[in-house]
């Protein structure tokens, strides 16, 4: 006889499925939901990325955008751009507007020329063209504002505001802006004015933090991707010192794109956890199925099937079922972006069926099914045939350890699963940490389950029969303990981690500000006004502490001679290279920083430019003390030697910079200041509002940013993001409940048998119910305690090591989720058991 031919194995597997899907429902749900989670996450991300790409030129506002900080393009640069196609210039900055009553509000100001927008339409209410809305009428300039601005100031449409030194009239509200997504998080409502208005406002002081964008619409004949690349290359070659950030339509909103990818990665990890929990359900279902098929397996062996042949038949069956379960899962996942799109979110969703992403989710599903099925299948290989002859009652749990080849196969499949997870991860380090954490949690939960069973086995003789039954149930063969502890434990670890991270983010961003956190940031304080500004604040904010530092903006062009485009930093420091950053200079180590390597320069240092870097960023860019950094500031490349490294306490929310230069570097450069104002004794909203109005009236060019408002804006983003993660985590708990339900169903026969025998011996239903409740409570509570500890530890790791924030244990919501988890276990268990208790003893006894 040869090896079992696949066709024969398939035939046997198909015949074996005629018995129906009984016992496989949990298996199907586990694979279906797990695959749906991963496919859904991937499909939504693909739809977003595709949407961004498709709408790229509209979002960017051109085929290419050249972005400059603090300065406008020089004549030669502008001539070059105009040579390429139609050019639209716009300036963006943060500014303060004032009402006639002296109310002030921070706005995200956008000054546009007559060519704006090159692509798409700015929709205004009432329907006006931009020229009509922004034009000048007498001394008053037109403007269009986000409806939120009018609402915040309590003004009607047509109201007049002061911007810098000019009067503007809000003639329309903005319904939609085509390029909104490329502008990032706004700290205030949008206000669009004409280019002429900005120039007349007096806000353009030397050193004012203005970003100038030159958007280019290429002629129809030159719109290919190659043309875009050619223009980019030519711009870089002709103006190597321009220091502009060049974005093309395919990279319209790089930080949004990156956030989508990063967010997807986190959600994929949550999806994978769901799939892992599902895997436990898969393993349980396969084991229960093989338990039920013991006689058939033994018969196959008597009729000449080898152990491997038997394993092949059932593996095929499991994989076919996994395929069948994965298909609706894929359909559900693929439908998710269409469902999300129906909610009319302000995101460019382009839902489409992406074959490779769906294939990836399918492969994940198959690998998880195989990884968790191979072990019990391996045990079936050596299932004794004696059952056929001795007519013994098949005992659950009476299985041998699988042979080495099955252990190896399980290992290989797990390695493939891990490899795939890591290879397709956005951040491999996080993926590896996840794998290690998941493995550790898995092993620890198994240990916890074993410990409970061991303790129950070794427990002293208990006088109460209820307790005795509960303890015996905890450790008997086929006990639910491992299933409850593993599935609920994993689900709770994830839930607690997510809740703890979310709670800590909220705490840090929203509720409790750091003790010495400033109340205000003031930006764009002109060099000529610094003394007057400081005096003004001292007079108007008695008791306040003002800290002021000079600020410019600069882009890192090269690190140690390597051009920025060629540096491959780890994802958590990549932002330092993406765009221009605030930079400062100082003759002393800034407050809130600690020197960790190298030495600070002397007070009167006058040599070649020196720079101090934040250590983590320097490490990420591969920079060491003594090496050279090139930074483009105001269109000039400045080369400085790295003199020292600092650690920075970002959470203090004080003024901190990645790069601090020696003061002689920027002599003669137009510099504005940034200042923070803190009230060590605390401040009231009234006090803060009064100061904001006073500053706006006295220094129209200076913008006051209230820290609380900034954090609200960030907090809102955090809240939106956590919805997705919460939904995915809830899915893992649903899966955990399914796994639990499956394990209960599998042990139902044993429970009915126990209940009938015990009832025959005089046990009341209440007593039995109490015993079962105690059993579920013990294993559920153990899982909950472990979930709480491990989840808190995982959250602490993520917050302190990956996000570089602090961690505080927030007991309320965490304890509540664990208590709920335990309650679900007890309730689910009792619902299952109640059915077992309902059976009349006589018919069962007759068939025993």
């Amino acid at each position: 006889m040869r090896r079992l031919r696949p066709i024969v194995a398939a035939r046997m597997a198909a015949r074996e499925m005629r018995g129906g899907l009984r016992g496989f429902y949990v298996f199907i749900v586990c694979i279906l939901l797990g695959v749906a989670a991963i496919a859904g996450v991937n499909a939504v991300a693909a739809a977003l990325i595709e949407g961004l790409a498709r709408e790229g030129r509209t979002i960017l506002g051109g085929d290419l955008a050249f972005i400059l900080s603090l300065r406008e393009a020089r004549a030669a640069e502008l001539a070059f751009l105009k040579n390429q196609g139609e050019v639209s210039r716009l300036g963006t900055l943060r500014a303060t507007v004032r009402t006639t009553q002296g109310e002030a509000a921070l706005v995200e100001l956008k000054a546009v020329d007559s060519f704006h927008p090159l692509y798409g339409v700015v929709a205004l209410e009432p329907t006006l063209s931009l020229a009509q809305a922004l034009g000048r009428e007498g001394d008053v300039y037109g403007a269009a504002a986000d409806p939120a601005l009018l609402a915040r100031l309590g003004l009607p449409l047509g109201a007049q505001l002061t911007l810098g030194s000019v009067q503007i009239q809000v003639r329309a509200t903005i319904e939609s802006e085509p390029d909104k997504l490329s502008s990032g998080i706004g700290f205030g409502p949008r206000l669009i004015v004409g280019d002429e208005t900005l120039r007349a406002s007096g806000l353009l002081q030397p050193g004012s933090i203005v970003r100038w964008q030159y958007r280019v619409r290429l002629p129809v004949s030159k719109q290919s991707e190659a043309s875009v690349l050619a223009v980019t290359a030519a711009a870089q070659q002709m103006f190597p010192e321009a220091g502009w950030e060049i974005r093309s339509r395919s990279r319209a909103a790089p930080s949004l794109q990156q956030n989508i990818v990063r967010f997807t990665q986190y959600l994929t990890l949550v999806g994978l956890t769901a799939l892992l929990i599902g895997g436990i359900g898969v393993g349980n279902a396969v084991k229960a199925h093989l338990d039920r098929r013991r006689r058939v397996i033994a018969t196959f062996k008597c009729l000449g099937a080898t152990g491997a042949g038997v394993a092949a038949i059932y593996l095929m069956q499991v994989m076919v079922l996994a395929c069948l379960a994965a298909i609706p899962g894929l359909a559900l996942g693929a439908a998710l972006p269409f469902i999300v799109a129906a909610f009319d979110l302000p995101l460019p969703l382009a839902p489409a069926l992406s074959g490779d992403r769906l294939a990836l989710a399918f492969v994940y599903g198959m690998l998880v099914a195989a990884a968790f099925a191979l072990w019990p299948l391996g045990r079936a290989h050596d299932l004794p045939v004696s059952a056929l002859f001795r007519d013994e009652i098949a005992q659950e749990g009476n299985w041998a350890r699988p042979r080495l080849r099955y252990a190896v196969a399980t290992g290989v499949v797990l390695a493939l699963l891990i490899g795939l997870g890591v290879a397709t991860a956005y951040d491999r380090r996080i993926a590896i940490i996840f794998v290690i954490a998941a493995a550790a949690v898995f092993v620890l939960l198994r240990l916890v389950a074993q410990l409970i069973m061991l303790a129950a086995r070794r427990a002293p003789h208990l006088r109460s029969p209820v307790l005795r039954l509960a303890v015996a149930n905890l450790h008997r063969p086929g006990a639910l303990t491992p299933s409850v502890v593993l599935s609920l434990g994993l689900g709770l670890v994830l839930l607690v981690t997510v809740i703890a991270i979310e709670g800590n983010l909220r705490r840090q961003f929203l509720s409790a500000l750091p003790e010495h956190a400033p109340t205000f940031y003031f930006i764009d304080i002109p060099a000529s006004e610094t003394n007057r500004f400081e005096e003004f604040i001292r007079a108007h904010a008695p008791g306040g502490v003002l800290q002021r530092v000079p600020m410019l903006r600069g882009r890192i062009v090269a690190a140690n001679g390597i051009p920025a485009e060629e540096i491959k930093p780890p994802p958590d420091v990549a932002w330092a290279l993406q765009s221009d950053r605030g930079i400062t200079f100082s003759d002393a180590l800034p407050a809130g920083s600690q020197l960790v390597e190298g030495e600070w320069w002397p007070r009167d240092y006058a040599g070649a430019p020196l720079v101090s870097f934040e250590k983590r960023i320097a490490d990420g860019l591969g920079l060491k003390v003594g090496e050279i950094v090139t930074v483009n500031v105001l269109g000039r490349n400045i080369t400085a030697k790295l003199a020292n490294l600092r650690s920075v306490d970002w959470q203090s929310l004080g003024i901190n910079f990645v790069m601090v230069f020696s003061p002689n570097t920027f002599i003669g450069a137009p510099v504005t200041s940034i200042a923070t104002l803190s009230y060590p004794a605390g401040s009231t909203r009234l006090q803060e509002g009064g100061l904001m109005r006073a500053v706006a009236a006295e220094f129209p060019g200076v913008s006051a940013l209230r820290v609380r408002d900034l954090l609200d804006a960030v907090g809102q983003t955090v809240t939106t993001l956590t919805y997705g993660i919460r939904a995915a985590s809830a899915l893992t708990l649903i899966l955990a409940a399914c796994v639990l339900g499956g394990a209960l169903a599998a042990s139902q026969r044993q429970r009915i048998y126990d209940a009938v025998i015990l009832k025959t011996l005089g046990a009341t239903r209440m007593r039995l119910l109490a015993a079962y409740a105690l059993e579920y409570l013990a294993s559920g509570a153990a899982a909950a305690v472990f979930g709480l500890l491990a989840g808190a530890a995982a959250a602490a790791f993520v917050l302190t090591r990956l996000m570089h924030l602090s961690f505080v244990f927030i007991p309320g919501p965490l304890l509540l989720s664990c208590a709920l988890g335990t309650l679900i276990t007890v309730l689910l268990g009792l619902v299952g058991t109640f059915r077992a208790l309902g059976h009349k003893p006589a018919p069962i006894l007759r068939n025993l």
Partner: protein, 218 residues
Amino acid sequence: MLAGVNLTLGRGRARVHILKDIDLYIGNGEAVGLLGPSGSGKSTLLMVIAGLERTDSGIIAVNGNELNRLDEDGLARFRAKNVGIVFQSFHLIPTMTAVENVAVPLEFAGVRDARERAKLELAALGLEARADHYPAELSGGEQQRVALARALAPEPAILLADEPTGNLDEATGAEIIDLIFEQHTRRATTLLLVTHDAALASRCGRLVRLRSGRLESE
């Protein structure tokens, strides 16, 4: 041929010496009745001969195959070629029709026209009309006839029958025994029949008694 066969099962205090120094020679085409009380080791001896249970010591040679030298897969191949087994509880596979049940050992052996041959086997036992019925749709006697057809389908050298009438009424049991002996004679298959029933055993040409794991007499 079995020589010096010993088998113990279980561990620690539950360890039981089931087969003790068994020496037994059965010639080709012989019909041997294996008698003994419950727990005497009859079924275990049958499993040893079928290569389903490994012994602690001794030699087992069946139709030129020394079973101790074969690995698990080798034993499976040996069974597929040489051994047919009929059980007391029939052990038909409930999700397969009669013809599919009979075809299973042929399919495991890689026989291409397994289904056709299975049909012929069923016809030989008078079950052609029941070929597409599931076990649950068959009477006990019919089920045991299907089991016999399945055991005989690969043309085994030895047919092992473990209490084949234990779950049947007297008349049906007699029919089955008649069929077994008829097929044994027609196919010249070696037959080893395990039973409690001395009358039934006496239809075999030779009787072997087992008591507490030891062969008592022939």
